[in-house]
């Protein structure tokens, strides 16, 4: 009887220590790791998606040129068309230098935004802009890598809207995060950022 109690006490002690160790790991060590991972350099990463012609694309598709990448969805009536329209205007303003960057619109609504839908959509904007979509898992992965927030919001008719980050990420040719162009950025500021990105040397 007494021996049994001792065993229970010992087991509880071991379990208690395990819990403390786990908590220590989660609370003290993990955030440091995450903090390190959340550094500026960690935005972006490998992906596999399909473009608006149906062809498979990866991070290597964009490699070699700095790029502007924007996450949205075609169901979006205001922020996305306005942003892509603004970007189209800035691309025009860049003139021949526009070819020195890649421009991508990635959907956060892959269920509705098929390559065909994406193609018709991006076709309405500057021809430099490509549309990328993929499986929900592929989109989740690239969104995590770019720290893009998106969330489905149900509507009364059984459909849904998407909340999503509304900024253009500017990335260098070697996939390092440079800066963002927030929604409704002034033309002069946005153009200065794009021109700066073009002249930023790869590390």
């Amino acid at each position: 009887m007494r021996a049994r109690q001792w065993v229970i006490t010992a087991a509880a002690g071991v379990a208690g220590f395990a819990v403390i160790a786990l908590v220590f790991t989660l609370v003290v060590i993990a955030p440091q790791q995450i903090g390190r991972a959340a550094g500026v350099a960690s935005i972006g990463g490998p992906f596999t998606l399909v473009d608006d012609t149906g062809a498979t694309v990866t991070e290597k598709t964009l490699a070699g040129k700095p790029y502007a990448i924007y996450f949205g969805y075609t169901y979006c009536p205001e922020v996305c068309p306005t942003t892509l329209f603004d970007l189209s205007r800035w691309i025009k303003a860049l003139g021949p230098d526009a070819d020195k960057l890649n421009y991508v619109f990635v959907t956060v609504d892959p269920e509705r935004d098929t390559p065909k839908v994406m193609h018709a959509y991006v076709d309405s904007f500057d021809k430099h802009i490509r549309g990328f979509t993929g499986t929900p898992a592929q989109i989740a992965k690239i969104a995590t890598e770019y720290r893009v927030y998106y969330k489905k919001i149900p509507t009364s008719d059984g459909s849904y809207l998407m909340d999503h980050s509304a900024m253009i990420y500017l990335m260098t040719a070697d996939e390092k995060f440079d800066t963002v162009i927030p929604y409704q950025e002034k033309d002069a500021t946005a153009l200065a950022k794009l021109r700066n990105l073009i002249t930023t040397p790869s590390s």
Binding site: P77, P81, H119, V122, D163
Partner: protein, 178 residues
């Protein structure tokens, strides 16, 4: 909760429907000024309509629903960009128009959202829209369509469509370089 609000709205609509039709056409207690819609990219199935609604009565009114021949359904939405995140919400209970006051639906705030577009919205054209108010009833308007980059109604609202033909050849509608 949602069921109750729908039920309440239905009850209100049913109660005011006869009065609604009586008031439609010029004598409405709600005036709609400077309506405009944003042209849509090809393939887009949603569009947004903006306007200023003024309530001339001493009682609060409410925009409860809308419909248009160009869309399968129409909803009333509020959008915002907070900390870089765009949020859009359906106003299930409609949009209140204060007594003797007005509400402006504009980019970055409220809009009437066209869902399931039956045709692309082309700058320079118009679309029909019927707004349903709890008290003022139905108000039918013609909405000019402006360029994708437009941020406000053209000068003079219904007129002022010059120079807003699409986004080709550097056409920027009334979107000025900021």
């Amino acid at each position: 909760m949602r069921f109750l609000s729908k039920f309440a709205m239905l009850a209100i609509l049913t109660a005011v429907a006869p009065a609604a039709f009586a008031q439609a056409g010029g004598t409405s207690t709600i005036t709609v000024e400077q309506p405009w819609a944003r042209a849509t990219p090809a393939g887009a199935i949603t569009g947004a309509v903006y306007m200023t609604l003024t309530n001339k009565t001493k009682d609060q009114d409410r925009l409860t629903a809308a419909s248009s021949d160009v869309a399968a359904k129409v909803q009333i939405h509020q959008m915002s960009v907070v900390n870089g995140v765009m949020k859009m919400r359906q106003l299930v209970d409609g949009l209140a128009i204060p007594a003797g006051g007005s509400v402006t639906l504009k980019p970055g705030g409220y809009h009437v959202m066209l869902i399931g577009l039956k045709k692309q919205l082309i700058a320079g054209q118009t679309l029909p829209l019927t707004l349903t108010f709890a008290k003022a009833g139905n108000v039918s308007i013609t909405v000019p369509i402006q360029a994708i980059g437009a941020t406000q109604a053209g000068k003079g609202g219904m007129g002022g469509m010059e120079g807003m033909q699409g986004n080709e050849s550097g056409g920027m509608g009334n979107m000025e370089m900021k």
